[in-house]
């Protein structure tokens, strides 16, 4: 259309209503997109989504239980050449967190689910204690775990989607984490 509009003035005049309509439609679509944007953002029904300043404020004011559900440390694969260094990076998380790897899996075994429930009860002490779930950026494990906690009746469940990457990028301190796993889950299955 632009090519034709450029070709002659009369053509561009006769095309103007069509262009105008197009512009209106584009503007309407843009407005719709803007209105829809917050709905597109992270959501946690029955809980609250946090950004970094909000998490900082919550930690200072309410001493929530911070639960890191990042995947467990990798297991050395068989067949790695003798000279290849195997050096999994140490996992750091938000200071004061508990690291419960695997509990955010989409389909946990019954044993893992009940272990998680027991751990949560022990750390929270009461269903009114705020709980914050996070893992890595763009990682769904923390959302899964947060939804489970809401289902178990915790009143103040928070989800921090930026994860440890977002926390680190904001210049916040981190601490070396140690995984806490059920006794029969210490080793990943081959």
């Amino acid at each position: 259309m632009t090519a034709r509009a450029r070709s002659s003035v009369t053509a561009s005049r006769s095309l103007w209503p069509a262009i105008e309509m197009n512009l209106r439609l584009t503007a309407a679509a843009l407005l719709l997109l803007l209105a829809a944007a917050p709905a597109e953002m992270a959501k946690l029904p029955g809980g609250t989504v946090l950004d970094t300043p909000a998490l900082e404020a919550l930690i200072a004011a309410e001493h929530p239980v911070l639960i890191d559900v990042a995947p467990p440390p990798p297991r050395k694969p068989a067949g790695l050449a003798a000279g290849t260094p195997w050096m999994p990076a140490p996992h750091d998380d938000i200071p004061g967190s508990v690291w419960l790897p695997s509990v955010g899996q989409s389909m946990p075994t019954a044993a893992l689910a009940s272990w998680f429930r027991a751990r949560l009860a022990a750390f929270a002490g009461s269903p009114d204690r705020p709980l914050v779930f996070y893992c890595h950026i763009h990682c769904k494990l923390s959302l899964n775990a947060a939804e489970r906690a809401i289902g178990d009746g915790y009143s103040y469940v928070y989800w921090y989607p930026p994860g440890i990457e977002g926390w680190t990028e904001a210049g916040e301190p981190t601490a070396l984490a140690k995984p806490l796993q059920p006794a029969d889950n210490q080793e990943r299955k081959p």
């Binding site: 297991r75 067949g79 790695l80 050449a81 050096m87 750091d92 981190t174």
Partner: protein, 276 residues
């Protein structure tokens, strides 16, 4: 007071100049050097991989290109470019945050045109990446890049294991330039292989798929070595490598690849390719 200070000539201004310079220098150092955690990690890695051999500034010798923010952490395209006339005999690619950080080591043979190398890699976390060139005189030149990607190691291969294993070892060669005898020729080799890294969970059985990955490959032309690659679990599914060779006339490009289960895959291509 202010007047007095302005009136005092050289020394005061010199101090201010020096202070400003120091601040600028600190700022520069702060932007160049990675934050302490990443620096500590690299220190440990470089010591393990290179011992106490000095790593020289790679600018003018080697450069590393990768997307700053990767679209798919399981398939991050990287490109290493070597300057002409630097006589590089091997190249190391190190992805700091990966559990097996030395992703690949490539050694060039007499028939190589060591100019450009492209690979596709998995990236586990936000990480520094280093490319190191070793020149014929034994010196090491390093370049670094930071990239944002996360979860590339546990990402499933994208099809069920049987499908991923079908046609394992099939190879394809693309010539990226017209074939001319005695001229450098850029080529891309594709190897069909799941390159299972042992960290991928089968979504149906909930078990981790055992590791199985290409651990070495040799590319020769008329029996002369073009390159040898040592690799591991950091290479993406269906490894792809773009490399350069100097074909001295028509001939046979042979690829021999091994995987961690001891399977050997061989394929020969007659050059120039029939379709060219």
């Amino acid at each position: 007071m202010a007047m007095m200070r302005c009136a005092t000539p050289a020394p005061g201004r010199e101090v201010i100049k020096i202070l400003l310079f120091a601040v600028a220098l600190l700022g520069l150092v702060a932007t160049l050097a990675p934050p302490p955690a990443r620096a500590r990690r690299w220190h440990a890695l470089s010591e393990t991989i290179f011992g106490n051999r000095p790593l020289l500034d790679g600018s003018g010798t080697i450069s590393l290109d990768a997307p700053y923010r990767a679209l798919d952490a399981a398939l991050v395209p990287i490109q290493i470019t070597l300057a002409e006339g630097r006589n590089v005999k091997s190249v190391y690619l190190i992805i700091d945050e990966n559990p097996a950080p030395l992703a690949a080591r490539i050694t060039f043979g007499p028939d190589a045109a060591p100019h450009e190398l492209k690979l596709r890699v998995r990236v586990n976390d936000y990480t520094d990446m280093q490319a190191v060139a070793e020149t014929a005189d034994g010196k090491l030149y390093m370049t670094r890049r930071f990239i944002k990607a996360s979860g590339g190691c546990s990402a499933p291969v994208g099809e069920d294991n049987a499908a991923a294993l079908a046609g394992i070892g099939r190879m394809k060669l693309n010539l990226l330039q017209p074939f001319t005898a005695d001229s450098p020729l850029e080529a891309q080799l594709l190897i069909r292989h799941p390159n299972f890294n042992g960290m991928q969970m089968n979504q149906l059985t909930r078990l981790y798929t055992p590791a199985r990955f290409i651990d070495k490959a040799d590319i020769t032309y008329n029996s002369n070595l073009v390159l040898h690659m040592d690799s591991d679990i950091s290479l993406s599914t269906n490894p792809a490598i773009t490399f350069g060779l100097v074909p001295h006339g028509p001939g046979t490009l042979e690829v021999v690849a091994h995987d961690s289960q001891g399977t050997v895959f061989r394929h020969s291509f007659a050059l120039p390719l029939a379709s060219d």
